[in-house]
């Protein structure tokens, strides 16, 4: 059996944490991810991927 390689993402895995208690995590990978996401939002926004058949 081979060990499957994995890529580490920038999204913290919060699924097992109560949604209303994330503030208790303090300064952590969550804060870093939030800063990264906000920077992306500032740089790029959320650009539409739009298609028109009349090209």
């Amino acid at each position: 059996m081979t060990l499957q390689q994995e890529l580490c993402s920038v999204i913290p895995d919060l699924r097992d944490l109560p949604v209303d208690r994330l503030g208790e995590l303090g300064d952590s990978v969550l804060a870093q991810s939030i800063a990264l996401y906000r920077q992306r939002l500032k740089d790029n926004g959320a650009p539409l991927n739009s298609f028109g058949s009349g090209i």
């Binding site: 890529l7 993402s9 949604v19």
Partner: protein, 590 residues
Amino acid sequence: MITTHRLPEEAFAALASGGGDAEVIRHLRAAQLSKQMMLLHVLAESASGDRTDPAAVAFTMARRLLATVQAADPSAFAWALGLPHLGAWVHDCLAHLERGMPPDLGYLAAAAVAAAVRAGVQFELDVPVRDGRVLLPGLGSFRVTDRQPWVRMRGDGESVTVGAHAQVPYAALRPDDGSGAQVRHWQGTLAVRAVAEGQTWDVLLETADQYLDRFTLAMPAAMTPDEAASWRQHVQSAWQVLVRQHGWAAGPIAAGVSVIVPLIPRGDGDLDSATTPAAFGAIATSPPPSPVIMAETLVHEFQHLKLCGLMDMLPLIEHCDDQVYAPWRQDPRPVGGLLQGVYAYLGVVRFWNVQRHVETEPEKIFSAQVTYGRWRRAIEPATGILLGADCLTGIGVRFVELLRDQGRSLESEPVPADASAIAAEVALDHKLTWQLRHSAIDAGVTADLAAAYRRGEPLGDQKLPRVRIEEETRKVDSTTRSRMLSMRYLDPGRYRALCRNGLPGFSRADALLVTGQTTPAAQAYRDEIAGTTEPRPEAWTGLALAMHRLAPTPLRQAFATRLPIMFDVHACLCRQGILGDPLDLAAWFA
């Protein structure tokens, strides 16, 4: 200690190759759930402490309710936070915060009620009323008659009351898939359960949520029963095409697309479709002309969604202001836009590679062959631009290299010569038109070249200009001719009918070109350009297309690769009152 979401290398490679099965999509959705929780946390920090704002209070109550749902029924919690409605809403809230504007916090109350209804959990909280309705995202809406901006909703686990207006069982609060009875006060969101060969796809047709009304065209405010039936048929028919012919795409689409946003079509019959990274799981589209085109649209747009999900997990690209050519767009695109486009068209190429062997009518086979041929040839140069742009991260380079390799493997598949020729010509027409529109060249260098040409000096000694990409450098209006060239394979019956009618409104040269009379067309364009000092960019692209049909020569190469500078030098000569022969000038540039 929290960790981050992981993506198996195999899943990454599958996505980069344009694929990724339902299990891979579940990785993306899991990360989206954490992303939504993270962004809710950001909003919570901005809302905490303000007990005078009803929206902030409703938000806090809603978050508590969501935590209760999360504990009682994690799947209901994941369903609610996975709704593209919620993704679009939280994105807009953050964008408001970034701009120092108050976010619409109250919306979360409605989402929390939807989650509680789905989980069978008790609740009591105020929710916002908009336009006489209380919208529960993913489920539907209550009609209320009060003019108050908020209404108290209660659920005891069995039935829901909305102020003093309605008492409805939890079980009745569901989307309207056309199979159930009407429920008083309640309008379920239109839904479709598409079934083909035992595979099911449940998807909503959303026309009411303000946060999903964000695409290039508006969504209809409401649908008649006939319109709803028509949209359900579009989805069902496309699902049959996908399940029967494109299994690689069907399962992942069912796992990843939960909402279709119908768009009001433009009047010209063109199809418009769109996605946004803010709303993972939603595809917007105007009505498709056929089940195959609807299926293609779903494949195309789902590629965008997959890439949006992946780019949330792994930054593939850094901030970059470069603008580049994309073979599927009229406008200059940012590098990130090109990445999205080439990934979408990799899916389109895979789609038509199958479809061209499935079609049975000769004209549809030919159309599929040309479409396949046109877009597969776009992958390699587009990935070349991406790899040369210096905007990709390390993992982004790996992604694009895998994507390019997949494109190359598709390049090796044979395409009939007549289909390949039309594909190449249509692609060249698009590229040359784009170059003339958007390539800006320094006027001083152009004047030096024009002077050198007049003096009879060889080009070899001259400095060739750098090209800047600009929004609109020259006005080029060749849309009618381009559409006619594409009509040869997209709508051959109409093409033949227009040719029989003598192509009213076409110039003589254009009429000769689109009817395949290449040598007379080349001469007519040459005469048109040489006979006036007025700039004729449409004639230059027409001449380039005519030359492209003739045997390969250095002259042909000059038209294909140096058209903007040739046009500008010719225009410079015209301004000096010199009527130049375009072929002679092209020979100088060759």
